[in-house]
Amino acid sequence: MTKLTFIAHDGTQFDMDAENGSTVMENAIRNAVPGIEAECGGACACATCHVYVDEAWTAQVGEPEAMEEDMLDFAYDVQPNSRLSCQIKVRDALDGLVVRVPARQG
């Protein structure tokens, strides 16, 4: 199991054990993290699972692919560390990953 932490916009911290191979978004939905909507269900077809990857983790998580970068155009307040959480796969290297939920989704 890989440890994952979401910090909601109001500062509430959600710690969880995530299965490798699942997406960060799926874990947010399973644990009812507020502010992750995932309207399209993980198809990289909306931008409502937008998160900010903690600065300490951006290198490990990596850059969005072109399609995700396109979808990020629809997100609110996009920053260099913005990612769509449905496109981040949980893996050993991300054990301890921290992501922040933006003020709003779109």
């Binding site: 309207e39 399209c40 198809a43 077809a45 909306c46 072109a66 970068e69 396109d70 990020l72 155009d73 629809f74 997100a75 609110y76 307040d77 996009v78 709003r104 779109g106």
Partner: protein, 342 residues
């Protein structure tokens, strides 16, 4: 007097479940008319993820969303459904004879004995961009679509977005507007490369301005914009702006269905699981938009729902007529309707 289009069953939404409803209703000789807010059939399958594979359609280990829509259209073709696209159903009223009158946002009028709501996540509507304080300007100086190009003549126009809509309107409105500023978060575009090249060429000739950044603020009064603040890599820039066209894609909203007097459950329409009928007899709800205990938002669940719904719809449209349950595999009469035997 507006022309009234009459049909047996009016289906709101032409996504996969609305399309398959045509098949099940057609087997019972009911004629269908579908209305959809998009410009083509397929709903979310066509709009959100046409190229993505779906793995849980029985009999299809993998099929693309658009592929499924194409197959459904082929399957329902024998029943010759009518389609009205680019329309939102705005109102619904029950008539004295028990049928329903449905009016679209362009004032077309339909009458049907049965209404089937297959509206999925609701109607696709332009997404409001993440610009604080934009609401008072909407419909006055901020528009989400171009109805008439003349409305932009002589204006300082700011277009926001990086897709085809943004680029097409940048190019088309440039000769009409006083000035055009295109704003996009990054220098890469989702739009057709040809449009992007044309845009850069026009920028080169100073016919328009392209700014990399995000619109963070608006100034103006009484709904009339005067300028927009763009936060770019080199800080804030204020540009003159008396008209704005943001293109931030589509989102789904329940829309006017909420005002049709149906019982709702968290923006979904509760139905029974025998007929998939709503709280109003004669109005059914199928697919993602309905709710019942154990509901799963799966296309295959919607297919099951329409089969049962069709039986109930037939009882309304042909009261007293005996409904014979038949298989398409063995029934010559069903095969005739499908056009597979003479």
């Amino acid at each position: 007097m507006t022309d009234i289009t009459k049909t047996d069953v009016l289906i709101v939404g032409a996504g996969p479940v609305g399309l398959f409803a045509v098949f099940e209703l057609g087997l019972f000789d009911m004629k269908c008319h579908l209305i959809d807010i998009l410009d083509r059939p397929g709903g979310q399958c066509a709009e959100l993820y046409p190229e993505k594979p779906i793995y849980d359609i029985p009999g299809w280990p993998s099929i693309s969303a658009q592929g499924l829509v194409d197959k459904l259209l082929e399957q329902i073709a024998p029943f010759k459904p009518d389609f009205t696209y680019n329309r939102m159903v705005s109102s619904l009223e029950k008539l004295e004879d028990g049928s329903f009158r449905v009016t679209t946002d362009e004032n077309e009028v339909f009458e049907a004995k049965v209404v089937v709501i297959a509206a999925g996540g609701g109607s696709f509507q332009p997404k409001r961009p993440p610009i604080p304080g934009i609401e008072p300007y909407e419909g006055k100086s901020v528009f989400y679509s171009v109805r008439r190009m003349e409305d932009f003549r002589g204006h300082d126009l700011v277009i926001v977005g990086g897709g085809d809509s943004a680029l097409d309107w940048t190019l088309n409105l440039q000769p009409v507007a006083k000035s055009v500023t295109l704003v996009h978060r990054r220098p890469e575009f989702r739009a057709a490369p040809d449009s992007v090249n044309k845009m850069y060429a026009m920028q080169e000739m100073k016919q328009l301005d392209f700014q990399v950044g995000q619109v963070t603020g608006l100034t103006g009064a009484d709904g009339q914009l005067s300028s927009a603040v763009i936060k770019g890599p080199d800080g804030d820039v204020e540009v003159p702006c008396t008209r704005m066209l943001p293109f931030f894609g589509l989102t789904m909203k329940l829309g006017p269905i909420a005002e049709w007097g149906l019982n709702l459950h968290e923006n979904l329409i509760p139905v029974d699981t025998e007929k998939f009928q709503t709280s109003v007899p004669g109005i059914f709800a199928v697919g993602d938009i309905n709710w019942y205990p154990g509901k799963l938002k799966l296309i295959l669940s919607g297919f099951h729902e329409v089969a049962l719904m069709a039986q109930a719809a037939k009882r309304i449209i042909s009261p007293g007529e005996r409904i014979v349950f038949q298989y398409t595999t063995s029934s010559t009469s069903l095969q005739k309707k499908l056009g597979v035997v003479d």
